[in-house]
């Protein structure tokens, strides 16, 4: 280990590892600090991703694919189920292996990793971030860097220490809890989404198959709902109703920041990626693929800045992110805000009218169209999602 690196990345999730890899591939020195003992564990995730979202970064491998998804099922509050064939393939991952493989690919490109390294402050000189302070096996340490990439997930404290406003409005936080259960019956090619006041108001409840008889069962509700009733209490009710005899293999809590990307994701000597930058798709809450994209763009830009010897170049990352996904997320966020206000009757009506559409003609696009038929302004947003690349 060196005293100084070109780039220090805080957090070894998908965003941090991809930032590390794409920077290291350009021959600059990279150190990744992760507070947990293991990269990829504990897993706080439903683990759903599209094949496309993965393939840009790593060759799909049976080792970390637990189920292949081809259908989406929406279950309305009255129990009506509307099933759609998805346009492409989806996966349910085994993230404890997947995140580890991503880290291995970054290490192979030359990035160094240290786990159980808890970052608790920044070195700031002349208003510029110059490295991080961390604790490692009981000792206080420091490491200097030309650029710090904050990939510290939902906590997003590193950005705050650099003066960026990263805390999340509690109403935009989807507060989640999930159980991985065995002994359940479901189709292993279908992701199930439940909606309604009694299952997950202002969010959704998911059941994602992880192979025969196993599933990730969880939900997210906004902090505004959490004020009255916790995610845990919704999960308990659902489990009693649907899977009273299932074995719980894992149980986790977690938070997903569901809002558009932060206004500022770079500062002097610092870049934010993944959940820490709020790069999650605010409509679906999916942040693995978008976090990897954010990490990649930041890693490339940081590597270029080092090679050019021009640290101001890191601000280019903001534009690259907004061109690639940031602007689309703003549209998704408007749709999310529309859907949040739906009452149970509305979800029921959507499922009923959707089931009248012949099966071959059903698509996610016309599900949204059915859903938003009474809200023309949102329809324009939806059209943008499907027409604008």
């Amino acid at each position: 280990m060196k005293q100084e690196y070109d780039i220090v990345v805080v957090g070894a999730g998908p965003a941090g590892s991809m930032a590390a890899r794409f920077a290291a591939e350009q021959g600059v020195s990279v150190l990744v600090l992760e507070k947990d003992r293991d990269v990829g564990y504990p897993v706080r995730c439903g683990e759903a991703i599209s094949k496309e979202g993965v393939a840009e970064f790593i060759t799909p491998d049976e080792k970390w694919i637990t189920a292949r998804i081809s259908k989406f099922a929406m279950i309305a509050p009255d129990g009506t189920e509307a099933v759609i064939e998805l346009p492409g393939e989806g996966y349910i991952l085994e993230r404890r292996i997947f995140d580890y493989e991503l880290a291995k690919s970054a290490a192979a490109a030359g990035a160094e990793y240290i786990t159980r390294a808890y970052v608790n402050g920044l070195i700031i000189e002349d208003d510029t971030v110059k490295g991080v302070k961390y604790q490692f096996r009981g000792a206080d340490k420091e490491v200097r860097a030309k650029i710090v990439i904050a990939a510290d997930g939902v906590e997003s404290r590193v950005g705050r220490w650099a003066g960026l406003k990263t805390h999340i409005d509690f109403r935009d936080m989807e507060c989640c809890t999930q159980a991985t259960v065995s002994g359940v019956k479901l189709n292993t090619d279908t992701c199930y989404f439940y909606f309604g006041e009694n299952v997950a108001p202002s969010g959704y409840f998911w059941v994602f198959p992880k192979g025969e008889g196993i599933a990730n069962v969880g939900l997210g509700v906004s902090g505004a709902i959490g004020k009255k009733r916790s995610a845990q209490s919704f999960l308990n009710t659902f489990m009693e109703q649907h899977y009273p005899n299932a074995s719980v293999l894992t149980c986790i809590a977690g938070g997903v920041p569901c809002s558009p990307t932060l206004d500022k994701i770079t500062g002097k000597g610092i870049m934010l990626v993944g959940d820490a930058a709020r790069q999650v798709n605010p409509l679906s809450g999916g942040g693995i693929a978008s976090g990897m994209i954010g990490g990649k763009l930041a890693g490339i830009t940081a590597g270029e800045a080092i090679k050019k010897g021009n640290l101001n170049h890191i601000h280019e990352y903001e534009k690259r992110w907004h061109d690639r996904l940031g602007r689309r997320h703003e549209t998704f966020n408007r749709i999310k805000e529309g859907i949040y206000n739906f009452k149970d009757e509305k979800f029921n009506a959507i499922a009923h009218s959707f089931n009248k559409v012949p099966y071959e003609k059903r698509s996610l696009g016309n599900l949204f169209t059915t859903a938003l038929i009474n809200q023309p302004s949102l329809l324009i947003d939806v059209a943008k999602v499907f027409l604008v690349k």
Partner: protein, 77 residues
């Protein structure tokens, strides 16, 4: 018997109590805290008292009801 000492928040007694034995260390509360008043390590969590304003946003956001409002104040351990 010695007098009970309470933790001090920015404006008076600290009323927010995290029950570490129940905590899953997920970071949801840390993300919403406007004052950066929660320290969260791999398996350790506590409130940095002088920063906390007792705003309760962390309580509302905890998915598994680990944070409580303790009207009597949180005693110093």
């Amino acid at each position: 018997m010695s007098e009970i000492q309470y933790r001090q928040a920015k404006n008076g007694k600290l009323l927010i109590e995290i029950l570490p034995d129940k905590c899953d260390f997920c970071g949801c509360c840390v993300g919403v805290c406007p004052e950066d008043a929660i320290e969260l390590k791999e398996a350790e969590i506590y409130i940095i008292d002088p920063r906390c304003t007792n705003c309760a946003k962390c309580i509302w956001s905890c998915p598994i009801e680990v944070i409580k409002l303790n009207k009597n104040g949180v005693p110093v351990k």
